[in-house]
Symmetry: C2
Subunit: 379 residues, 2 copies
């Protein structure tokens, strides 16, 4: 990305809120009502409403994809490198929408919201939501915004799972899909990591069955530190930290942090506790566990994907061991079997799973070309 592009930003943006008064009947059978979705939009919707792109965020993400909420903000939105005037998701061409998921803690209804029946926070009375539920709620937002068809739905990691669900649940509502660094069914290894993370939270006495005023910060930090290891590759950790000591020339011979990588993890854990709700972490990781497009087809991938109609660009990263390229290939093989128009790219990267937030250049070019071709198709 050239320096000029880097300087360009959508500028100051204001989060919006959309309320679904009647709520939703969820996959678990319960009704969640009312539902608030926090979302942001950038760019202008065309007269034909044919330039709208929905961006889906990952586990700990939010609706704030690009720009700044106030001039004092130190940091822009989480995909600033990709969304803005002249960028890959070009806000001069496209109308970009991003909605915080239900179950989250960044403005949408989640376990830390007030339960209208009790006047208290939901806590563990919040119903379990699935990726499909998240998408059904977003569909209501889409209708509210008077968008009939997304030009594209794109997202990485858990965002990619929402992309796939969109393509399966509302095949006529999108022209194209870009699932990035994701999987069409979560592996037992990921389920296992999620389990250990949740155990850490729920074992923290401060969690108190989900009824806390102060976060169960130790448990949540442990869950986050663990997850962070899975976001990096062994190679990127070696390059970034190696066996570097943080504070002195020699080992301390105690249990405080010695190594840079330990300091880094501690910092990541502490920062996360400040911004993310522990119960939301439980609910969202469970939604991820349950994600499997083949759960009604006895594991048959092509059958699981057969309702998909849209063009697809599938992207994986060579060193991503949380969602290994093989999981993308499995998905692509299923799509091809169904005769879908699908492109696949396994981007060479040493960054591990985090590559989807870091490999702006390669990923940006790839997506830009894909989006341009959509427009050519249209002409």
């Amino acid at each position: 990305m050239n320096p000029d592009q880097r300087k360009q930003s959508v500028g100051i943006v204001t989060p919006r809120h959309f309320v679904i008064e009647e709520g939703l009947k969820l996959q678990c059978g319960q009704v969640l009502a009312p539902i608030t979705l926090c979302y942001e939009v950038y760019g202008t919707l065309s007269k034909n409403a044919d330039n709208a792109i929905l961006i889906e965020h990952a586990l700990s993400g939010d609706a704030h994809v690009a720009g700044y909420h106030s001039p004092e903000d130190a940091k822009p939105g989480w995909w600033e490198s990709m969304v803005g005037p002249g960028k890959t998701f070009d806000t001069e061409k496209y109308f970009i929408v991003c909605s915080n998921i239900i179950g989250g803690c960044s403005g949408s209804t989640g376990p830390s919201s007030i339960n209208p029946k009790t006047g208290k926070r939901y806590g563990m009375d919040f119903p379990l939501v699935t990726i499909a539920d998240m998408v059904h709620a977003q569909k209501k937002l889409m209708d509210h915004l008077k968008i009939r068809k997304w030009l594209c739905v794109a997202g990485g990691s858990m965002g990619g799972m929402q992309v796939l669900r969109w393509a399966l649940l509302y095949p006529d509502s999108l022209v194209s899909a870009i699932p990035i660094a994701t999987s069409s069914r979560i592996s037992p290894q990921s389920i296992a990591f999620n389990w250990v993370g949740r155990e850490a939270i729920m074992s923290d006495p401060a969690w108190n069955g989900g009824n806390y005023e102060e976060q169960p910060d130790k448990g949540l930090a442990i869950a986050r530190m663990l997850a962070h290891i899975t976001y990096l590759s062994e190679e990127s950790m070696r390059r970034k930290f190696g066996r570097k000591l943080q504070f002195s020339q020699d080992y301390s011979f105690d249990f405080d942090k010695d190594f840079s990588v330990e300091s880094y993890l501690e910092h990541q854990g502490m920062r996360f506790v400040e911004r993310f709700d522990a119960n939301s972490y439980l609910y969202i990781t469970r939604a991820i566990d349950y994600f499997d497009v083949t759960d009604k087809t006895g594991g048959d991938m092509a059958k699981g994907l057969e309702k998909m109609k849209c063009k697809c660009l599938v992207v994986s990263f060579t060193s991503d061991w949380l969602f290994p390229p093989e999981q993308s290939r499995e998905m692509v093989r299923g799509m091809l079997k169904n005769g879908l128009d699908v492109s696949y790219c396994n981007i060479e990267s040493s960054y591990g799973h985090d590559a989807f937030l870091l490999e702006d250049d390669t990923l940006g070019r790839l997506i830009s070309n894909f989006l341009s071709n959509l427009e050519t198709d249209k002409e």
Copy 2:
């Protein structure tokens, strides 16, 4: 392994204890005294004392490599498949020794031992021990057993680190070394996993600064579950568990265990708490973190290994991502640069790190051949 071999066992064995009254000055500068080492022996020491093999155990292992402690024992020692009459480590030919490490909790002096200065358990007053300290203590046992030179020192995982330390600290005390599924310097990824495991233990209020009567079972179980994920490969988890549900046909839509892999982890965590001391877990993982043969050579592998003299068989497993084959290759390149007689085998296996305990057949043949060649050398 044929059925006859499987039936053969060293039979009933009795753990022995060796006390080093004067103790040891440890790498951290403190003196640990007295030191008890719990060890087991199988087979008979030859007249020339030239048939002794030392087997080193891994993190949660112990001195009980083979046989049974009583006829009621349901399970034999941890490497029963490899050690016994007619097996790879043939107790009709070799005199096999295995010693529990210091810092451990299976009969040797560790944090759960009584501190003679206070009459209470050491707890966190136990000094930090390193892999080198473990080896120095074993050297005293070697002298006590009147063994001048080990025919071989062999071990997997942390056992392999002890093997390397033996070869570096006492190069004239062994004919050969077999480090298996290990590394010559622990990677930041492993340090990171160890950090998170220790945080889980030390965050459990029951840990109480290391002074507990009842184990901090939640924290220790979390540490163990996490470690267990790193012992399996993604593929072996997929084959073993897939997305199988444990109890019902459909998701429970709650946070109790749904998936077989969750049940498995919970079981592993609970079993571990019954047999392993939480403080020992802290101390041993820290010893692993500190293991780096190049820490005095600015990262130069050949220099770090230059004191080694013995023949070496290095073994890794293709799907081991905790100690990836590349870490073995790095070690082998250093040895070759130093002109050592080294063989290397990267065994094709889908079992991940656990392969060193499971690939009996291939590993057994490999080691048998290596040991036979040593005898031929001798003749």
